[in-house]
């Protein structure tokens, strides 16, 4: 439990900082969108569809980064039992789900015009991302169905660690499976990006990372406030 009431002044500063960060984030998203939709040149092969890249790839980075955070935070929680790590793991898992969801549908909507198929079971990245989504949905279900106590935190930490360990193995086995069963499709045509693609990509990455951090901040606040609420309720035996 952190010092719950730092007076009105710090709260006001907090709100101001938050608003500032939100405003910057919003502007960043606008800039990134301008850079990727308007300023970036049309790609020769995929044309306008390549612009989905600027959503898909940054969010894929974020998704994989957040499950890494879940993994590290889960280990930290199991070893230290400090609830702050558990909060971090939970927040990152939710962020992971949000970004993985976007990765999945943007990938599907990219695949349809470019590959001619909504989904391809022969693409290891696609299948791995779906499996990842399933694991972390299970993780979050576990968290939401269980009571919010140390036990649930411990249980979900273990699942969080196993889920992370599972990702590379899944990727590798699906890759190998595809390799041996060459289906009549499609290699992704995202090759090494040129600088004209790289800059809008970096902007998008920055912008969506900012949105994600914003979500993380609010999420963490909720966790803290609900902890505070629990404590107050417990102190007064209010049901």
């Amino acid at each position: 439990m952190d010092k719950s009431s730092n007076g009105k002044r710090s709260k006001a500063i907090d709100v101001n900082r938050f608003t500032l960060f939100g405003a910057v984030t919003f502007i960043l998203v606008l800039v990134a969108t301008y850079m990727s939709l308007v300023a970036a040149p049309l790609e020769a092969v995929q044309g306008v569809h390549q612009k989905i890249f600027y959503i898909h790839v940054p969010l894929a980075f974020i998704a994989y980064a957040s499950i890494t955070v879940v993994f590290i935070a889960s280990i930290a929680f199991l070893t230290t039992k400090n609830p702050k790590w558990d909060r971090l793991a939970r927040t990152s898992a939710e962020i992971g789900i949000i970004s993985t969801t976007i990765v999945l549908f943007s990938g599907s909507l990219w695949g349809r015009p470019v590959w001619g198929a909504w989904w391809s079971w022969s693409d290891a990245r696609l299948v791995t991302t779906l499996v990842m989504w399933l694991i972390y949905m299970g993780y979050l279900m576990l968290r939401s169905l269980g009571e919010s106590n140390n036990q649930t935190a411990k249980v979900s930490s273990i699942i969080g660690i196993l889920g992370f360990v599972n990702v590379p193995i899944t990727y590798f086995s699906v890759y190998l499976w595809t390799y041996l069963h060459p289906l009549p499709t499609l290699q992704s045509s995202t090759e090494r990006p040129e600088s004209s693609i790289l800059m809008p990509f970096l902007w998008s990455f920055l912008a969506y990372s900012a949105v994600i951090i914003l979500i993380g901040i609010v999420r963490n606040k909720i966790e803290k406030s609900s902890d505070e609420l629990e404590t107050i309720k417990k102190q007064n035996q209010i049901r």
Partner: protein
């Protein structure tokens, strides 16, 4: 009872013996598993026979899906029984290493799965009219059983203390076990098609690697799963 703490292999052996004794007396887990797997096969037979002309192509999938779900039943029972009868608390109060509890659970479940397959394979051969009794299948079945048990045991153990264990076990376990199922189904298919070992040997290796990684990771974390 001697005062000194038994060595880990003795601990594992005693716990393993305990599991087998319970099963021998109650005849609960294995019977349920066999009947359940059989029902699954019959359902698959009816649902696919009409559309897939050659049921033989579906056998690897049918076999491993029924093994997976049968193991789910067994694991669930194994841990919730310990929970209900307060055995887990009893064991926790002894100086037994949690690692040996984990190993004994994996061992028991692996043995049960092997027994299930020994019964199931001839039945599939008879009911689906296609022989799948190949000697090459043994390593595939073995690595697959260990993989399902290694991950299954830790997930079931962690969920045993939660309210929603029955619903969540398959939801969490299936994606975690995807590499095992993928590898085993592919390898079993290759063996049934009488392909040489070069066509499926790497799958056995991948599942073996999975087994090693998950056994180690779970072994390291198991004491968190059962401590209270």
């Amino acid at each position: 009872m001697s005062k000194s703490i038994p060595r880990i292999d003795q601990q594992v052996f005693r716990l393993f013996y305990r599991e087998l004794l319970i099963e021998f007396r109650a005849k609960e887990q294995l019977t349920t598993m066999v009947i359940f797997a059989l029902t699954t096969i019959i359902i698959f037979q009816f649902s696919f026979e009409m559309r897939a002309g050659n049921i033989k192509v579906l056998i690897p999938g049918v076999l491993w899906i029924s093994v997976f779900f049968a193991s789910m039943l067994s694991l669930n029972r194994s841990f919730s029984r310990d929970q209900e009868e307060n055995t887990s608390r009893g064991i926790a109060s002894t100086p037994i290493d949690p690692l040996s509890i984990y190993i004994s659970k994996v061992l028991t479940n692996t043995i049960f799965l092997c027994a299930l397959e020994v019964i199931l394979l001839p039945i599939i051969t008879v009911l689906l009219n296609s022989s799948i009794l190949y000697i090459n299948l043994i390593p595939v079945l073995l690595v697959g059983n260990i993989g399902v048990s290694a991950t299954g045991a830790i997930v079931a153990a962690t969920l045993a203390n939660t309210k929603s264990r029955e619903t969540l076990l398959p939801v969490i376990l299936l994606p975690l076990l995807l590499p095992v199922l993928l590898g085993c189904i592919t390898a079993t298919g290759a063996i049934i098609d009488e392909q040489p070992i070069t066509k499926y040997g790497h799958w056995v290796q991948i599942v073996a690697i999975y087994d090693i990684i998950f056994t180690l990771a779970s072994g390291l974390m198991f004491h968190f799963a059962i401590e209270n």
